[in-house]
Amino acid sequence: MSGYTAHFRVWRGDVGGGDLEDFKVEVNEGEVVLDIIHRLQATQAPDLAVRWNCKAGKCGSCSAEINGRPRLMCMTRMSVFTREETITVTPLRAFPVVRDLVTDVGFNYQKAREVPSFVPPSGLGPGEYRMMQEDVDRPQEFRKCIECFLCQDTCHVVRDHEENKQAFAGPRFLMRVAELDMHPLDAAEDTGLDRKTTAQDEHGLGYCNITKCCTEVCPEGIKITDNALIPLKERAVDRKYDPLVWLGSKIRRRSSAG
């Protein structure tokens, strides 16, 4: 495959407004959308604003919407499009635009602060932690998250309803609650913190109606809905409506620990 000229439409503007701008740009074998954006910067639009870092799908900086779908620009190969196709690149829709493809993702950092941190178990010093691989497998899946915020962008609870942002942490941070809840040594419960009920009461788990859009866009392939949100919902429901289930889980926990 040799080089060709592609037709790009890139949103340019700022908080005051903007529009799609047309570009004709060279494409070479093996390139990804981010390469093309960089070529635009170097040759046609030196002040085109875009975030990026690793260019290897590990840092989650270059999130944008490509032909309307939330994706990482560095992991979207040009070969998935036909040569005739017009490729439209726009900023993440759920967050306020700063400039061109850069949005204000502060919402996510605010939500991160609202999730209570890991509580170390008392009586275990550094070096004394013992956990089995099969027990850390589940939370480890969630720690693969690169915080690209594509799930936060695509989730219709906030995508089309700005007003829900106050009450809803979004898939990324509900998954963080699930991760901590599944951590074999998290001692939140000993401090009176029940992560399952806070997911429901404080982080808006109830808004999620498991359409799995978040899972579909996750570049790490994390099964956010199936493995984090649904189990969290099931357990939160148990807690809320069934005191016997709650008591039972307590007793089992004690006996297995003893």
């Binding site: 390139e31 030196p46 870092n53 840092c59 941190s117 956990m131 720690r143």
Partner: protein
């Protein structure tokens, strides 16, 4: 005088990778009000790209491991040029730094008995790297990020403000460390008074006044064309230290990681983790030969397998077999690959073959190397469970850096300035072992934060005040690219401004071709001429548009740093007439014992700040030689005499 927003902090940390965040945590826990400034979003620093693991002699997998063995491996890897006290502290403290991460919520892969699992890596005698699949850096950065949030939550509970004691200024760039002349010092030097920075989003300038500044900005890879480093790696911290009056140490040592992707062109240089080899992957040339057996250098002859059979047995029975030569230190493997390709035995796209597909079942590969599987599948259409990867050397890490005191991480000659992580020199000598970077970040990040906080507290009310004229000069320097058009003094007409992207590409090409993995005197002289030319042209680097999130402007400012650092690398590489670790001279191929004791220090030639010296001979950098302290006898006693004679000069052995 420009009106610039000012804030007061106790400690300012520049950089939010592993070292910066660990420093910030320590400084805040010691009671210092601490600000962190980083160029990217919080949690995106280059540390996320570290794959293999954190080296720490916890002895979870092989009980014979201890800090002395780790120290020995580190010194061998660095060819004994390491600042030995740093290597000692690093080996001793790394296990505590890893265990501490668990108490902050980190989830490492486990051994059968529930402890932290450890894997083999190049140059490490025992399985030593704590890891999480092949995304250990992500786990590290996320754990530190979440610890910062935990501290902010504590502060919020107490003060009602998350940022009252620890604040992250994300997407901001520091362009100058501010100093005041130090009346107390005999040398008439200066000490730190704060930093000058701009907010990338708005373009607004601001000053953080602080008596202590920790530089933790990482490396310099973006001065090279083929690199595993991200855009942030423009040598900012190295340049900030130089400009503030601190020397850089041994900048000629640049690590080319042996295995970067070579195809397709747009991903050339992206890292292929050493874990592939640590877990059993082998290197082959186009004839199908495991060529590394031909490249075991004399100093390592007794420690590596002589046959493929022995090497293969080692994975199961390391006590009775020697390790395969694919696990030699990185400099050795990189040179070997380079030589194979040059001899015409390379792969179709100019690398060699790295194969795991014939060594492990597909599901094991997918479990142990998930990001490598993903990376090759997505970016190169290669299924690593079914076929070999093509790999070649890529610029990965700089061993040289800011010269620091081993115990305190204090930069030499500038009170109040500290450095930790890749930006600091000395720890790794002439070549870093894989896995020793993440542990370095933690050990010396903590030490830098600790000593910066103590220094700030020790000043009491006697804080240096920021010099207004320095702020004005810094602001003018930062705005220069917006007025690059127009007549140049002494010339007839105005010339068009230079495109910063073009200048950057020319710099990368020059460093790659002329000061790359194999170096020659004539080429490095040529490089210095090219750098002088680029330096002059960079004065005219111009940008379009305004100051709000303008990448062209950001690059124009970063060019100053890349040019300074590139000159240090070229000048030191020209001076060192031997080959050692990450510095290979074709015209001086042998390692010389006499050079082991020589450190090369780079300083700014004109401390008043004239940065456009056009003379390639004089340039911006003045180089001096320095003889290192002798290695402490009890540390030398950890090695056999037969080994020491390969490295140390006669008189050092019998002192």
């Amino acid at each position: 005088m420009s009106v610039v927003d000012r804030q007061e902090w106790d400690v300012v940390v520049v950089g939010a990778g592993g070292a910066g965040l660990r420093a910030a945590i320590e400084a805040r826990e010691r009671g210092a009000r601490t600000a962190v400034i980083c160029k990217s979003l919080f949690g995106k620093a280059h540390t996320v790209m570290a794959e293999g693991g954190i080296a720490a002699a916890m002895a979870n997998v092989n009980e014979n491991d201890n800090w002395q063995v780790h120290f020995r491996d580190t010194m061998r890897g660095g060819k004994f040029l390491n600042q030995w006290r740093m290597a000692e502290l690093h080996a001793q403290e790394a296990p505590d730094r890893v265990w501490e991460l668990e108490t902050w919520g980190a989830l490492f892969d486990r051994t059968k008995d529930g402890r932290i699992s450890q894997r083999n890596f190049g140059g490490h005698e025992y399985p030593r790297l704590a890891h999480v699949g092949d995304r250990t850096g992500l786990e590290l950065i996320r754990t530190l990020q979440q610890k910062i949030v935990a501290l902010q939550q504590e502060d919020h509970k107490e003060t009602g403000d998350y940022e009252s004691r620890l604040k992250v200024f994300q997407e901001c760039t520091v362009t100058r460390v501010l100093t005041v002349s130090d009346s107390g010092s005999a040398a008439g030097g200066s000490r730190v008074s704060g930093v000058f920075a701009y907010d990338r989003e708005t373009g607004r300038f601001f000053v953080l006044e602080a008596p202590a500044v920790v530089i933790a900005t990482g490396g310099i890879g973006k001065s090279f064309k083929v690199t595993s480093n991200s855009w942030e790696y423009t040598g900012d911290g190295h340049a900030l230290a130089l400009l503030a009056g601190a020397p850089l140490l041994n900048m000629e040592f640049v690590q080319f990681h042996p295995t970067g992707m070579v195809w397709p062109p747009s991903v050339k240089g992206i890292l292929v983790t050493e874990s592939v080899r640590g877990d059993g992957g082998v290197l082959r040339n186009s004839e199908g030969k495991r060529f590394m057996f031909d490249y075991i250098p004399d100093v390592f002859k007794e420690k590596y397998a002589e046959s493929e059979e022995e090497g293969d047995r080692w994975y199961e029975d390391p006590d009775h077999n020697r390790r395969p030569p694919e696990l030699l230190p990185r400099d050795e493997v990189a040179r070997a690959i380079n030589a194979e390709v040059k001899a015409g035995r390379g792969s179709p796209h100019g690398g060699v073959f790295l194969d795991v597909s014939t060594r492990m079942p597909a599901e094991v590969i997918r479990r142990r190397l998930p990001s490598m599987y993903h990376q090759f599948k997505e970016l190169a259409d290669v299924d690593i469970t079914a076929e070999a990867m093509e790999v070649g050397p890529t610029c990965h890490y700089v061993m040289g850096g800011i010269a620091v005191e081993s115990d305190t991480a204090a930069a030499r000659g500038v009170p109040g300035l500290y450095a930790a992580g890749e930006v600091a020199g000395g720890m790794h000598g002439s070549n870093r072992l894989g896995g020793n970077s993440l542990s370095d970040l933690l050990v010396f990040g903590r030490r830098a934060g600790l000593h910066a906080a103590e220094y700030a507290a020790g000043l009491g009310g006697e804080r240096p005040s920021v010099d207004d004229s320095q702020v004005d000069t810094a602001a003018a320097e930062a705005l220069r690219p917006f007025s690059a058009e127009g007549p140049v003094p002494g010339e007839q007409e105005g010339r068009p401004p230079e495109n910063p992207y073009t200048l950057h590409q020319e710099l990368q090409q020059a460093m790659n071709d002329l000061v790359g993995i194999i170096r020659r005197e004539g080429e490095m002289e040529q490089a210095l001429e090219k750098l002088a030319d680029l330096r002059v042209r960079t004065r005219r680097a111009g940008v379009e548009g305004h100051r709000q999130f303008n990448p062209g402007w950001h690059l124009a400012l970063d060019l100053r740093n890349m040019l300074l650092v590139s000159e240090c690398v070229a000048r030191a590489a020209l001076e060192r007439t031997e080959s050692r670790g990450g510095h290979t001279r074709e015209d001086h191929p042998a390692m010389e014992r006499e050079w082991r004791r020589i450190n090369l220090l780079c300083r700014l030639a004109d401390p008043t700040g004239g940065l456009a010296a056009t003379d390639p001979v004089v340039g911006q950098i003045a180089l001096t030689r320095e003889t290192t302290d002798p290695i402490r006898p009890d540390l030398l006693a950890l090695f056999d005499k037969e080994e020491l004679v390969k490295y140390l000069a006669e008189e050092e052995l019998y002192e």
